[in-house]
């Protein structure tokens, strides 16, 4: 089943909720994150006009869309680093934008984010980077921290690289180290911001495997923001496609492939022209050339 969000958002939304409520009544909160009718703009530029999407608990949710459509912004909204002008962003039933500073920091301990650049602290070794959130938020003795860090590093295959500094790592290794750091405190939700961007096929394969494995073995919920269709479609349980400042479709990968929405098809197939136009909005070409409108 595919949900189209053209025009009437609210109707689509209600259908979505009804659907998931039917499907999984096992857990109390079946959707870990629910974004409802969010409007967001930076200064004069509007980025979202009524975005709604859900992230089901325990699954890998992919958010795809053309570059510049504000996918990263979505993650920052969920993390509470940005506040929407309108609408709600709920994490485990808590409305993130309404939280004050202290409560927000409490909620953030339950989620983590893998940044595009990895964002490892350049003045610490890989080991200390992974140990950082544990040292910061717990009072565990150093030998227990060391054990946890080694387990996390082993999970990403970097146990041997603990003593290296971030500038000694390759791009793929840095991202895996950052991944180890983001699972250090066993979060409920992990958000990946473009995890595959600029990676060679081998490290891309490693990351794909890691995301999938971590999601299953640790039982966490993942949001992957990306536009690498093949990798994402292979691991995602739930996919949302964003375009034109809205979520145009969400559903399982199979549902999306079967979709007859031209925008979804254009995106999945990678056609250069279609509902997302090749040309940036301009005056008619011949008029411009003939100089009749300047």
């Amino acid at each position: 089943m595919v949900f189209f969000a053209h025009g009437s958002n609210h109707r689509v939304e209600s259908v979505t909720y009804a659907n998931y409520a039917d499907e999984s009544k096992r857990t109390a909160v079946e959707n870990l994150v629910e974004v409802k009718d969010v409007h967001f703009s930076r200064g004069e530029t509007s980025i979202y006009k009524g975005v709604s999407l859900v992230v089901p608990q325990g699954k890998v949710t992919a958010v795809m869309g053309p570059s510049g459509c504000g996918k990263t912004t979505l993650l920052r909204l969920i993390g509470g680093q940005l506040k929407p002008q309108q609408g709600s962003v709920e994490f485990a039933g808590i409305n993130i934008p309404s939280l004050h500073r202290g409560a927000l920091y409490e909620v953030r301990k339950r989620m983590s984010m893998l940044f595009q650049s990895g964002a490892l602290f350049s003045d610490m070794t890989v080991f200390d980077n992974v140990a950082f959130p544990i040292r910061e938020h717990t009072n565990l003795p150093e030998n227990i921290i060391a054990t946890i860090v080694k387990m996390k590093l082993e999970a990403v295959g970097l146990r041997g690289a603990g003593s290296l500094f971030p500038n000694e790592l390759s791009g793929g290794m840095a991202r895996r180290a950052a991944l180890a750091r983001s699972i250090a405190l066993d979060p409920e939700l992990i958000m990946y911001d473009e995890p595959f961007a600029g990676q060679d096929p081998i490290s891309m394969g490693m990351l794909v495997k890691l995301i999938k494995e971590l999601n299953h073995t640790l039982g966490l919920t993942s949001i992957v923001v990306s536009h690498d269709i093949h990798e994402v479609m292979s691991i995602a349980d739930h996919v949302a496609i964003m375009a034109n400042k809205q979520v145009v479709a969400q559903g399982s990968p199979e549902e999306l492939r079967a979709s007859d929405n031209p925008l979804v098809q254009q995106f999945l197939k990678g056609d250069p022209d279609g509902p997302v136009p090749f040309h940036y909005a301009a005056t008619p070409y011949h008029e411009d050339l003939l100089g009749s409108s300047r």
Partner: protein, 258 residues
């Protein structure tokens, strides 16, 4: 003409907003319950980066400035037969003015610019965002220890600057130019007052410490996360702190010694 007023208005508003933002940043960084156990190692590390690493340039500059003061002062004072006044001249100019001011200027160039660039790079590489998402407040984790390190280091550096400068003056004046040893120190002691001269210089350097460190941190924290953005922020740190130090020095001098 209208455009001129619009420009002036816009600049004024931008400046006021900047000052407001900077104040909020500093307040958020410094208030809240202190965590001495976590903060102390960070503070030590920043004292090393900000203080120890600025020490050499401060000591060398202080020595040379003291020597130049003695040399210049001597050629003037000897005409009046008042070369005994060399001691107080060197000591007072160092303690009241040159110690705090030159230290602050060198500090802005050495440590301030480094602070701005470091924090700007942390912003550009998403390290600050990453801290926020790890539920660690970057203002308290990154900004606060650097601020305290600057606040503590600068007066200490200024004291060292003055002490070394006076020794440089002694070296040139007494050892080289032949001013009487006893007269040099005793006349100096007679006219330098601990409270009026040394402490007022100390207060000056505390004020400069706050201003320079604050500007450096704010410029780094709000730098555009690009290479030109960080380089512009670094330049602005040095320019703004130097201007602020010289302007405030005039005000403080007028209040203290006027």
């Amino acid at each position: 003409m209208l455009r001129f007023f619009q420009q002036v208005g816009r600049d004024t508003l931008t400046t006021i907003r900047g000052i407001g933002e900077a104040s909020i940043m500093l307040v958020q960084a410094l208030i809240g319950k202190p965590q001495p156990i976590k903060m102390f190692p960070l503070l030590i590390r920043q004292l090393y980066v900000v203080g120890v690493q600025s020490m050499l340039i401060i000591l060398i500059s202080g020595l040379f400035i003291g020597m130049v003061l003695a040399l210049q002062g001597y050629t003037i004072l000897v005409d009046f037969g008042a070369e005994q006044a060399l001691g107080p001249m060197v000591a007072l100019s160092l303690l009241r003015e040159l110690g705090p001011v030159v230290t602050a200027l060198l500090f802005a160039g050495r440590a301030g610019s480094a602070l701005t660039a470091e924090i700007g790079l942390m912003r550009a590489t998403e390290q600050l965002s990453s801290l926020e998402m790890m539920a660690v407040d970057p203002l308290r984790r990154v900004v606060a220890p650097r601020f305290w390190a600057g606040f503590i280091s600068m007066p200490l550096l200024a004291f060292m600057f003055s002490a070394v400068g006076i020794y440089g003056g002694y070296f040139v004046g007494v050892q080289w130019l032949g001013v009487d040893d006893g007269a040099f120190w005793s006349v100096m002691q007679a006219s330098v007052d601990w409270q009026h001269d040394v402490m007022n210089g100390f207060i000056k350097s505390l004020v400069f410490a706050v201003v320079v460190t604050w500007i450096a941190l704010y410029k780094g924290y709000t730098a555009m996360p690009t290479s030109p953005g960080i380089s512009a922020a670094t330049t602005q740190t040095v320019v703004y702190s130097s201007l602020a130090v010289l302007g405030l020095d005039f005000v403080l001098t007028a209040l203290m010694f006027g």
